[in-house]
């Protein structure tokens, strides 16, 4: 693959988080975030958010994305079985040729999410733009969704939480998982992991609209082979991997 000129990458990163200002009439400005939705308009199915992870650029031992996720979402960063983890680094090894790959694994934001199918209360839901979330106001902490998820993406909060971020409410007794940093996406930014990966010059993650053929993620998916993890389950995940 052709290496991307770093100045161009920076430019793209800057443009990705930018707010475009449209002049409607002289003196009248419309501030529209990059997702093209006014702040008082609901999300629609026109957009489907997706994440492409190029495992050939993801270094073993690097956990910049995990650290950024923990910081943004106020997770402790602990890895005990009872500590919530939204991203886990997974190391793969093909024994015979000895090929190794490292990748971040998180909620795959399925188009057909099993966690939503099994949830008895309707707390686990898919937003119109494809982001799978838990409405913690409704969640009773039964953990059916954790059982149903083939990616082991969800965690129950076992202990009282303090010092939450105002944008990321979290509390004991509810289930949570990667939200694609929905609070950032709604502001027109990319998820914290993607930003951290780009800032550290790994460039292993591309976030964007799968429905927009002109987006970088859609162009890359059209041009190069990619993998859906557990494609046999036909869940149509929004997270895709290259190089595995």
């Amino acid at each position: 693959m052709k290496p991307v000129d770093p100045t161009r990458r920076q430019f793209l990163a800057a443009a990705g988080g930018a707010v475009s200002i449209l002049t409607l009439a002289p003196g009248v400005l419309l501030l529209a975030p990059a997702h093209g939705r006014a702040p008082d308009q609901p999300v629609t199915g026109k957009v489907r958010w997706g994440l492409l992870i190029d495992t050939t650029k993801c270094a073993a031992g690097c956990a910049d994305c995990v650290a950024a996720c923990n910081r943004e979402n106020g997770l402790s960063g602990g890895t005990r079985p009872t500590d919530p983890q939204w991203i886990r680094k997974v190391e793969l090894k093909d024994r015979r040729p000895g090929r190794q790959a490292s990748l971040p694994m998180m909620c795959q934001h399925c188009a057909q999410p099993p966690c939503v199918d099994v949830c008895p209360t309707g707390a686990s839901f898919k937003r119109a733009d494809g982001i799978v979330l838990v409405d913690k106001h409704i969640c009773i902490g039964c953990r059916y969704c954790m059982m149903a998820c083939p990616y082991k993406a969800r965690s129950l909060v076992h202990e009282p939480v303090t010092g939450q971020s105002p944008d990321v409410p979290r509390g004991k007794g509810t289930v949570e998982s990667c939200t694609f940093c929905v609070q950032r996406v709604d502001r027109g930014e990319t998820p914290a992991c993607v930003e951290a990966c780009a800032a550290a010059r790994h460039g292993a993650m591309v976030f964007g609209d799968l429905n927009d053929p002109a987006s970088e993620i859609a162009r890359r998916l059209a041009a190069y082979p990619s993998t859906r993890v557990r494609a046999d389950l036909a869940l149509d995940p929004g997270v895709r991997y290259q190089g595995i």
Binding site: R37, P39, D40, Q41, P42, V43, R71, F125, R127, A128, D129, L133, D135, K136, H137, P160, V161, G163, Q164, S165, P166, D167, P169, R170, G171, K172, T174, V182, Q183, D186, R187
Partner: protein, 134 residues
Amino acid sequence: MAGRAVFAGLIFATALGAGWALAQERTAAAGRVPKPALAQAKGDKCVDPTDFMRRNHMQVLLHHRDRTMHEGIRTPQHSLKGCVECHAGPQSGTVVGGSDDFCQSCHAYAAVSIDCFECHAARPRQARAGARKP
């Protein structure tokens, strides 16, 4: 007809009298009845009239929470984050925790438990110790 008018007048007078008595009682008891001590909010005025908010803030917040959660609408009007930003105590920096803090003082007065801040931040972002700038 005349009887009815007299009757109505009587009721009116009674109501007036009762109202007056009530007002007297209030003034008399003002010193004894504990009132919630509300810290001054940051902005000049609330997003809605105070009388309306006193009675309806829970419905307003409930409605906005569903719009935010499910539709991604994060407008500042009626957002809990907005309430906290404005009403966090000038000293304590929070809306719950101390008896003077905005949400807590009133909820303690009305004996209504408040669960929002089990999960939601009770402090605005800037006031959080060691918080990074957004």
